[in-house]
């Protein structure tokens, strides 16, 4: 008879190189707990329950008949306090004097303690370079998503987060106002110039592969925005027109920081940079340090 541990050891050393040492001395004890300790625990638990029952019985006997009052069970889960709001207006305030409306695009203005000025531009998705389309607010068919990613193997996002790559022009796919699933489904959206990707909790960073190399963006919680978790990058092309200089705050294929942008690439009516000024940890330069998004001027 060969033990399971021996089988694992022989297999592992065959496929993954030599063992670095002997297995932990207490390897078998981990899987075979002392039954003596278990019985002691059961006995202690039984004693505790018996004592509890005795105390409850004696206190019930000594108390006077009480008026029964309906008990209200407190909620088990305290709903989170709303600290921000999402406007449904089709407008964003770029600065205090200018309000820009984009009728062809859903522009969501966030407001809140730290989210004032963050403006995310969403555009109803029509089609992208990979033939994926969604005409309404319905959640896309998972099979369709699977086929999409089968065709786009270079789009890899860790931790089960699905990010739909935009088309080559960087158009945006969905309207967060119209499609409620956007806020619940771990789906990312890519915007013009500045890309936003909503990410699920636990996502550390998002990788976008472009023809100019992978872009990395650190996912970060936006303070005051009720758990909105975004990854910010700049994509190197805009509406199919390659920019003179690739611009991103993430890292390039060699994991080296790029030069800050020299001119604006933001979609009109949207100024997400203003949020970076109020929440400096919004943008990350890859996998590690966070820093404010450089002002695109």
């Amino acid at each position: 008879m060969i033990t399971l541990e021996d089988q694992i050891r022989r297999y592992a050393t065959d496929v993954a190189g030599p063992a670095v040492g002997e297995p932990p001395a207490d390897l078998l004890q981990v899987t075979r707990p002392h039954h003596r300790g278990r019985w002691a625990l059961v006995a202690a638990l039984a004693l505790f329950i018996a004592g509890l029952a005795y105390v409850a019985t004696s206190s019930h006997d000594s108390s006077s008949p009480a008026v029964t009052t309906p008990e209200t069970t407190p909620p088990l889960v305290v709903p989170p306090q709303v600290t921000s709001a999402v406007s449904t207006e089709q407008a964003c305030v770029i600065n205090e004097q200018t309000t820009v409306t984009r009728p062809e695009r859903s522009v969501v203005a966030f407001s809140g303690p730290n989210g004032d000025g963050l403006c995310v531009s969403f555009e109803v998705f029509e089609a992208n370079a990979y033939g994926f389309s969604s005409q309404g607010p319905e959640e896309p068919d998972p099979a369709l998503l699977a086929r999409l990613f089968a065709d786009v193997p270079q789009v890899e996002v860790p931790t089960l987060v699905t990010v739909i790559d935009g088309n080559e022009g960087g158009q945006l796919q969905v309207s967060a106002c119209q499609a409620s699933w956007v806020q619940e489904h771990p789906l990312g959206v890519i915007s013009f110039g500045v890309a936003f990707a909503t990410a699920s909790p636990g996502t550390e960073f998002v990788r976008f592969d472009t023809d100019q190399g992978p872009l990395y963006a650190q996912a970060a919680d936006v303070p005051g925005l009720d758990g909105l978790r975004v990854a910010l990058i700049r994509i190197p092309s805009l509406a199919g027109q390659p920019l003179a200089e690739p611009r991103m705050t993430a890292l390039d294929a060699d994991l080296r920081p790029l030069a800050p942008p020299t001119s604006t690439t933001l979609a009109p009516g949207c100024n997400p940079l203003s949020s970076a000024q109020s929440s400096p940890a919004l943008v990350d330069d890859g996998i590690g340090d966070s820093h404010p998004l450089p002002n695109s001027g």
Partner: protein, 164 residues
């Protein structure tokens, strides 16, 4: 795409900082084993290369960390994982060389959760200590032991012990 900054892991003469090289040469064999345990052999080389690049690019900060091994393992792990990495493909048991090892072992290992597989593979298979595994996983020894216990129990249920 041109670089605008020199990687912080590079010495002024352009060579790699010796501390970076020492850290990585010390780490690389274990990183390879841990990544294998986590995601199988696919992409391990690429992930290690990218992790080294990441280390060079941000060497000062990483060298100053309390647990650079754990951090770099998590960086490398993120390079390998994705939806298709949830159930890795492990190499089959070479039955002609190891007739006493059941062929069911590899697929059963692959079906474990990543942390369970990593704990079982490294502790029972490659002789890592609990502390070493905990350092890489960025968790406590007791958590690693729990991962191990659950993983080995699953394996025992599925394949048990065989006559050898």
């Amino acid at each position: 795409m041109t670089a605008a900054a020199t990687p912080s892991g590079a010495a002024p003469d352009g060579s790699t900082d010796p501390r970076v090289a020492a850290l990585f040469s010390e780490l690389e064999p274990r990183l390879r084993q841990a990544l294998f345990a986590y995601a199988g052999p696919a992409d391990v080389d690429d992930a290690i290369g990218e992790t080294f690049a990441h280390l060079c690019a941000d060497a000062q900060r990483i060298l100053a960390m309390g647990n650079p091994h754990g951090y770099l393992y998590r960086v490398a792990r993120d390079k390998t994982r994705g939806p298709r990495r949830l159930t890795p493909t492990l190499p089959p048991v070479r039955h002609e060389l190891q007739p006493e090892v059941t062929p069911e072992l590899a697929p059963a290992l692959a079906r474990l959760s990543p942390n369970q597989r990593t704990s079982v593979f490294l502790a029972a298979g490659l002789g890592w200590s609990w502390i070493e595994i905990a350092e890489f996983l960025g968790t406590s020894v007791s958590t690693v032991r729990n991962h191990y216990r659950r993983g080995i129990e699953k394996l025992r249920t599925e394949i048990g012990e065989v006559d050898g």
